[in-house]
């Protein structure tokens, strides 16, 4: 992909070795599967000045997941994991909605902005707590974040008094259910968050330092990276993303459900990150991959409905697709099934020979172009 003068087979090879190739391929296949069942699947119609269509809905309904998964990517890149995002979604929604419901004028812009600020602040505090436990106290991330995962739902229910709070606020409705420039407003929110994340990680040195901490924590300490600070920051960012998702979900339904808002979203988010090609061991990460991964999961959910998979076999079907995606990501599996052409040259792994090879048998080193901007 990087050199223009390559021959066709090697260009094909470079393409199949691009880290986004398999996630994108699966996404395209999943989308195509829908066509026989819904012939106008790809068509987008303009109604009342709004764009409607399956593609638009996939992005719309996938928005919260993309947000949560993007934050999760950075946490996973440091070698951690954040199980508390679902609870943070619930807490943020509960706080914002209960604040708005207490207002005399629920549609007053100042009140809505304050409610959102309050919710997001709570989310960031949750992230600070997670980061503190993980980075400062040295608690295993899975345990540290389990605390808020469990307790957070309780907190959300305390805030809502165990009720589902419904609100009627026009400005608040915009984030998750409104339209702007013919498109769902959520899409703009997601685009903004993804863009900010990419700029934050790739236009500063944050991405490099995160990958370094996740790739080798001790080496990072000895090179003078303040990994504690970076980890705390990343958990806070992850919680902030979850908080925005929480606002979106509660806005979309105009209700705060402490029990069910964002339920199991942490698992889908982790899955999206993995499908996107970021290793759970930490190190290299790809925001672009994560976005595609989240879209794959959302498309899968949509597909299950359109092709009419019986509800009781829903989860099994989903699991099957996920297994296929994960297998496709494994160079070992690809080499076994498709032959060496698709494998990541696992045979060359042991030899540290310089890359003097001819173009069509280039070793894996140069086969995976580096992602600068997702």
């Amino acid at each position: 992909m990087s050199t223009p003068s390559v021959t066709t087979p090697s260009r094909w090879r470079a393409l199949t070795h691009h880290h986004l190739f398999w996630p994108v391929a699966v996404l395209v296949v999943l989308l195509l599967v829908n066509v026989p069942f819904t012939p106008d699947f790809f068509s987008i119609k303009m109604t009342d000045g709004h764009l409607y269509g399956s593609l638009v809905s996939i992005v719309l309904f996938g928005s919260p997941l993309i947000l949560v998964a993007v934050g999760m990517t950075l946490v996973i890149a440091t070698g951690g994991i954040d199980l508390s995002v679902g609870a943070v979604v619930a807490i943020t929604g509960a706080l914002a909605c209960s604040y708005i419901s207490d207002q005399a004028d629920q549609s007053a812009l100042s009140g809505v902005l304050l409610a959102m600020g309050l919710g997001l602040l709570a989310a960031v505090v949750c992230g600070l707590w997670n980061g503190f436990l993980v980075a400062r106290m040295g608690i295993q991330p899975i345990i540290a974040t389990l605390i808020i995962m469990v307790a957070g739902r309780g907190v959300a229910q305390l805030i809502t008094d165990g009720q589902i709070i419904t609100i009627n606020s026009e400005p608040y409705k915009l984030i998750g259910g409104g339209y702007w420039l013919t498109l769902p407003f959520s899409i703009f929110v997601v685009a903004a968050v993804v863009a900010v994340t990419v700029v934050l990680t790739r236009r500063t040195a944050l991405g490099l330092l995160v990958e370094s901490v996740g790739g080798n924590a001790e080496a990072s300490r000895l090179v003078g990276i303040r990994s504690m600070r970076i980890k705390i920051m990343v958990y806070m960012f992850c919680a902030l993303c979850a908080g925005i998702a929480g606002l979106m979900i509660s806005s979309n339904t105009s209700a705060a459900d402490g029990n069910n808002a964002g339920l199991w979203i942490e698992l889908d988010a982790i899955l999206a990150v993995v499908i996107g090609g970021t290793s759970l061991l930490g190190g290299r990460f790809s925001i672009g991959g994560t976005v595609v991964g989240a879209l794959v999961i959302q498309t899968l959910t949509t597909t299950i409905y359109t092709i009419g998979v019986p509800t009781q076999t829903n989860l099994v079907f989903k699991a099957a697709v996920v297994i296929v995606v994960c297998l496709l990501q494994s160079p070992k599996f690809r080499a076994k099934v498709f032959g060496a052409k698709f494998g990541a040259g696992s045979g060359t792994k042991g030899s540290a020979k310089p890359a003097t090879a001819p173009a069509d048998t280039a070793p894996a080193t140069e086969a995976a172009p580096k992602m600068e901007v997702s």
Binding site: A205, L209, A219, L222, K353, T356, A357
Partner: protein, 512 residues
């Protein structure tokens, strides 16, 4: 020694990787009861030959004959069952299990599915005893130093087939750089074990970068260069200079140059001053001064506190007594950041675990220290970054000269150079090098030593730690001698100082 029939014969071995011919037409033979050195620079094909022999790689051509029968191994396990055992540089055992469990792991004596612990311990103790080692087999492996763990790994590999008749006993033992992290006494212990096995008729294939060790223990050697066979010689017939010439294929002017090198006398005022700096369980409180442009070498056995001293000066471990000033200013040394801020750089002896981030590229690894010092909000501008990286790749001759290459795929010598580059671009005042030449080939070794000389000539202070005394002696203005985690002497280098003089100091613990 020239017995009629070799136990192992490899003929016309060919191994190809995409685009690279790693071995072409290599012959190799091994006689029972001999210790045979496999020599060559990094990348000469030693590891590939071993991996072909032990079934890690498949053959692309040639034949392997073991005990007169033609064999072909699909996996290391098959090779092991056929009697070829391997012990690698890194100990692949479970530190949390006992020695006996480690020796028998995967082939525990069982009765009706239950492990017979008593029998296992007894057999392990017998095996250890037979091989002349004094190890408590019930203690966890982690309670022993690395050297003993290595011995246990060897015991484990030769013990194959003793307990249940499976396999046919070890005929060939492959030792791939077992000595790279051992001190002299430990090497002797290893050699005792090797001689004992040799007397039992085991053929040992030995790989080491230490030429002295080869000449001490080996009977015969095979030399490889660029994947081809250069020759097979009896050790007595080839001297060290001749061997090195065979290995690198040209006269050894690089090293000669260093031999004649005079230490520059241009040493400035005090840069680092440590007073009573120490850490319980690490190193006893010591006083130390390092002057500008001075190379201070640390000599002492492995575990004598060399690394601990260096880590204290860098703040990698926190001192619990004393104080240190760098450039006249007191530094707290409570974290590496404090030392880095004062201009100290530290290349750890553990390149993989404490140095490199293997997933990242050469470029990213090189800029890491500088970037960490600038903080995440101030990335190094792309043009400046690429320029710096290109400059150091060229200056240190890092190969492949591709900044996009994953650092984990580079050879040991090149990885070491990447680490050096990482710190050199921060322009440190004091460069701490802990075993920078361990496990790397002769050529890269000479390059790194030359670099140290030129850096100190340019006014950089260097704290140099090496297991080889010749190396320390050749480079250092002052030699700090450590023994039992105590800095026992500081010797000013001069013509009358010899390695035996330093060894005496290490042995006696005092300097006259």
């Amino acid at each position: 020694m020239a017995e009629p029939r070799p136990v192992l014969e490899m003929t016309g071995i060919v191994k190809e990787f995409p685009g690279v011919r790693a071995l072409s037409d290599v012959d190799f033979r091994l006689f029972p009861g001999e210790i045979h050195a496999l020599m060559g620079e990094n990348g000469a094909g030693k590891s590939t030959l071993i991996k072909v022999l032990t079934g890690v790689y498949s053959l692309d051509g040639g034949t392997i004959t073991l005990d007169g029968r033609s064999v072909r191994f699909g996996s290391p396990l098959q090779a092991q069952h056929a009697g070829i055992s391997t012990v690698y540089q890194e100990v692949n055992l479970c530190p949390n299990l006992s020695v006996a469990e480690n020796i028998f792991i995967g082939r525990e004596p069982t009765r009706m599915g239950r492990i017979q612990w008593k029998r296992m311990r007894k057999e392990a103790a017998e095996l250890v005893d037979r091989l002349g080692l004094d190890i408590d087999v019930t203690a966890p492996l982690s309670s022993y130093p690395l050297a003993v763990q290595q011995l246990v790994a060897i015991v484990r590999s030769v013990g194959t087939g003793d307990s249940d008749g499976e396999g046919s006993g070890t005929k060939v033992l492959v030792l791939d750089e077992p000595t790279s992290s051992l001190d002299r006494d430990e090497v002797q212990e290893l050699f005792r074990l090797m001689r004992r096995l040799k007397d039992e008729g085991v053929a040992i294939l030995f790989v080491s970068h230490f030429l002295d060790q080869i000449y001490e223990i080996c009977d015969r050697m095979t030399v490889l260069r660029n994947g081809t066979l250069v020759g097979e010689h009896m050790v007595g017939d080839l001297d060290q200079v001749g061997l090195i010439q065979l290995m690198i294929g040209k006269a050894l002017d690089q090293l000669e140059e260093l031999h004649d090198h005079q230490l520059h006398s241009d040493v400035g005022e005090t840069l680092v001053k440590a007073e009573g700096l120490g850490r319980t369980g690490g190193i006893a409180p010591f006083d130390l001064e390092i002057k500008k442009g001075e190379v201070l070498g640390l000599a002492g056995l492995l575990g004598s506190g060399r690394t601990e001293l260096a880590r204290l000066l860098f703040g990698a471990d926190q001192p619990d007594s004393g104080k240190a000033t760098i450039g006249g200013k007191q530094v707290s040394l409570s974290a590496p950041n404090d030392a880095i801020g004062a201009g100290v750089a530290f290349c750890s002896e553990n390149r993989k675990t404490e140095g490199l981030v293997p997933d990242l590229t050469v470029r990213e690894n090189i800029i890491l220290a500088l970037q960490a010092a600038r903080g995440w909000t101030r990335p190094i501008p792309v043009s400046q970054r690429d320029e710096l990286v290109a400059k150091y790749i060229k200056a240190l001759d890092i190969r492949p000269a591709n900044p996009e290459a994953r650092v984990g795929q580079l050879s040991g010598g090149n990885q070491q150079k990447v680490l050096l580059a990482r710190w050199l671009i921060t322009q440190p005042k004091l460069l701490i090098l802990d075993e920078p030449t361990r496990g790397i080939d002769v050529g890269a070794k000479a390059e790194i030593q030359k670099l140290v000389v030129s850096l100190s000539e340019d006014g950089m202070s260097v704290l140099y730690i090496a297991a080889e005394l010749e190396e320390v002696l050749r480079l250092s203005h002052t030699i700090g001698v450590l023994r039992d985690r105590r800095l026992v002497a500081q010797i000013t280098n001069g013509p009358e100082i010899t390695t035996s003089r330093i060894m005496e100091t290490i042995a006696s613990g005092e300097h006259q």
